[in-house]
C-alpha cells in the first residue's frame, strides 16, 4: 500500500505554539481543557487536564498522542475544552447523536492528524531499556535514544494499524482547527479490506482463529474500559450477576461471550478509534468484530458512525419497509 499522501503532509510539522495559544484562549471560556502531555518517558504521552494557565506549557501534540481523550466526556459535568484528532472527532459526533454530551458545554480544538505510532511496535524493538529521548527527523523517521544507544524507525513502519486506513484525518467537528486540513485518499472499500478478506475464509478457519485469539484473553476488561462508547460503567452486564451472562470462570465460552457482548453493544455505534485494541495487553484484534458490524451497517442501512450529528444510530430506529433486509424463508 502507498501512504504517500500521509508522507506529504507529515513534512509540515504542527506548531505546538499555535495549539498552546488556542488552549490559553479557550481556557477563559471553559473550566478544564483536555490535551496531551509527555508521559513517564518520551515515547509515551498521557492525558493532560489543564485547569491553570501554568499547565498549558506542558501540552504537546506529536505521533505519540495516541489516546482518544473524548472518553472522559460523558461523565464530566463542567464545561470542557478538548483537543481531538480526526478519529477522535467521530466519537464526539456519536456522543452528540446519542445525547451523551451537550454541544454547548464543549469547545473543540481540532488537529488534522497524519497518523500516530503504535507504541507497542517500538517497545518490541527497543526492549526494556529506558528511553531518554525521542526525536522526529524530517517528519518521516524517528530517532529514539535509550540507555543502550540509538535506534531509528521509519514512522510508516511503526504507524498504528488504524491510521493506515484512516479516512478522516481532519476532524469532522470543531470550533478551532490548528493547521491545514488533510484529505485522505482511502476509499470505504479499502478501509474494510481486512474484514472482507477475513470473511472469505471457511467457518472452521474463522472459528479456530477466534479460539486462538480469545484463548489469550485474560478478561481484564481493558478494552471495555478504554472504549469511549462503553458508557454503562458499573452496570456492565459482563460483571453483573443479575442478569448473569458471563460467569467467573476463565474459560473460552466466557471469553467468547464477553467479546460478543462488547461487539453487540457497540453495533452501529463503534467509531473505530481503536482504543480497545491499543489497550489490550494480549494483542487480541478486538476491533475486527466491531468493524465487521460497521461493514454490515453500511451495507444494510447505508450508515456510517460518527459522521453526521443529525443521523440516528441504526439500532435506535427502524423503517416499516426495510429495503435491504430480506425475509429468511425456509
Amino acid at each position: 500500500m502507498n501512504w504517500d499522501h500521509y508522507m506529504e503532509k507529515r513534512r509540515k510539522p504542527l506548531s505546538e505554539k499555535g495549539l498552546r495559544e488556542k488552549i490559553s484562549q479557550i481556557l477563559k471560556e471553559v473550566d478544564v481543557v483536555i490535551s496531551w502531555k509527555m508521559g513517564f518517558d518520551p515515547i509515551h504521552a498521557t492525558p493532560h487536564f489543564i485547569r491553570d494557565e501554568k499547565e498549558i506549557e506542558e501540552s504537546v501534540f506529536n505521533v505519540f498522542c495516541v489516546h482518544n481523550l473524548t472518553t472522559y466526556l460523558p461523565f464530566m459535568k463542567e464545561k470542557v475544552g478538548i483537543v481531538v484528532k480526526g478519529c477522535d472527532s467521530r466519537t464526539l459526533v456519536q456522543f452528540i447523536q446519542e445525547g451523551l454530551i451537550t454541544r454547548e458545554n464543549l469547545k473543540i480544538i481540532g488537529i488534522p492528524c497524519s497518523g500516530v505510532v503504535d507504541v507497542k511496535k517500538i517497545m518490541e524493538e527497543i526492549g526494556e531499556s529506558p528511553v531518554l529521548q525521542a526525536e522526529i527527523l524530517d517528519n518521516s523517521s524517528l530517532k529514539i535514544r535509550t540507555l543502550d544507544g540509538e535506534k531509528f524507525f521509519q514512522i510508516d513502519s511503526v504507524l498504528a494499524q488504524k491510521c493506515k486506513t484512516c479516512r478522516y484525518p481532519t476532524p469532522l467537528i470543531y470550533d478551532h482547527l490548528i493547521g491545514e486540513p488533510i484529505k485522505s485518499q482511502i476509499g470505504w472499500d479499502k478501509a474494510y479490506e481486512d474484514v472482507t478478506e477475513f470473511d472469505k475464509k471457511t467457518l472452521e478457519e474463522k472459528l479456530s482463529f477466534w479460539k486462538k485469539e480469545f484463548e489469550k484473553c485474560i478478561r481484564c476488561y481493558a478494552c471495555r474500559n478504554a472504549c469511549p462508547l462503553c458508557v454503562c460503567q458499573d452496570r456492565c452486564i459482563a460483571e453483573s450477576r443479575d442478569p448473569h451472562f458471563v460467569s467467573q470462570k476463565l474459560e473460552l465460552p466466557e471469553k467468547f461471550m464477553f467479546h460478543f457482548i462488547h461487539a453487540i453493544h457497540l453495533a452501529g455505534r463503534c467509531v473505530e478509534c481503536g482504543e480497545c485494541e491499543r489497550a489490550c495487553p494480549m494483542g487480541i484484534p478486538v476491533k475486527m468484530m466491531k468493524k465487521k458490524i460497521n461493514y454490515e451497517m453500511k451495507q444494510l442501512f447505508d450508515y456510517e458512525t460518527g459522521i453526521n450529528v443529525d443521523d440516528k444510530p441504526p439500532m435506535y430506529t427502524f423503517k416499516v419497509e426495510e429495503e435491504k433486509i430480506k425475509e429468511h424463508e425456509l
Partner: protein, 144 residues
C-alpha cells in the same frame, strides 16, 4: 418422534407471547405433528429478544436457535418486531464472522392463527439443524 434413529438436538425457540406462542398453541390444539427438539421460551415481544440471548444459547449448548414474532406491522406493541428485525439481522450477519454457521440461527414471523405455518417452520428448521449436525460434542462443547 420422527427422529428416532438420531440423537435429539437442542433447539431453543424464543416466541413472542402474542403471535408465535399462540401459533404454537394453535398447532398443538390442532394436533399437528411436530419434532420434539425445540424448547420454547416465551417472551413478551420479539423486541425483548436481545441478540445476546441467542449468542448465550449457542455458546451454552444449543445446536440451533429460532426466534419468532408477530408479522411486521402486526406487533402487539406496534413496533417491537421492527427493532427486533434490525438487531437479529445484524446478529445473523455477525455469526459467520466468528465461525458460527448462520443457518443455526433463524428469525421468522408466525401469527397466532398460523398453526400450520408453525408446524412447517419447526419441522423444516429442525430438519436443517439435523442436517448440519450437533454444534457441540457429547462431552466437549464447541467453544471449549
Amino acid at each position: 418422534m420422527s427422529q428416532e434413529n438420531k440423537r435429539e438436538l437442542k433447539i431453543i425457540g424464543f416466541l413472542c407471547n402474542w403471535c408465535s406462542y399462540g401459533g404454537a398453541d394453535t398447532a398443538g390444539v390442532s394436533r399437528f405433528k411436530q419434532p420434539t427438539d425445540l424448547r420454547i421460551v416465551r417472551v413478551p415481544c420479539s423486541g425483548r429478544v436481545d441478540p445476546l440471548f441467542v449468542v448465550k444459547a449457542l455458546i451454552g449448548g444449543a445446536d440451533g436457535v429460532l426466534v419468532s414474532g408477530c408479522h411486521p406491522r402486526d406487533c402487539h406493541y406496534s413496533d417491537g418486531n421492527f427493532y427486533a428485525r434490525r438487531r437479529l439481522e445484524m446478529l445473523k450477519r455477525l455469526l459467520p464472522f466468528l465461525g458460527i454457521d448462520p443457518r443455526r440461527f433463524r428469525y421468522t414471523w408466525v401469527s397466532a392463527s398460523e398453526g400450520q405455518r408453525w408446524q412447517r417452520v419447526v419441522t423444516e428448521f429442525t430438519k436443517l439443524i439435523h442436517e448440519l449436525g450437533p454444534l457441540h460434542g457429547e462431552k466437549e462443547k464447541a467453544f471449549e
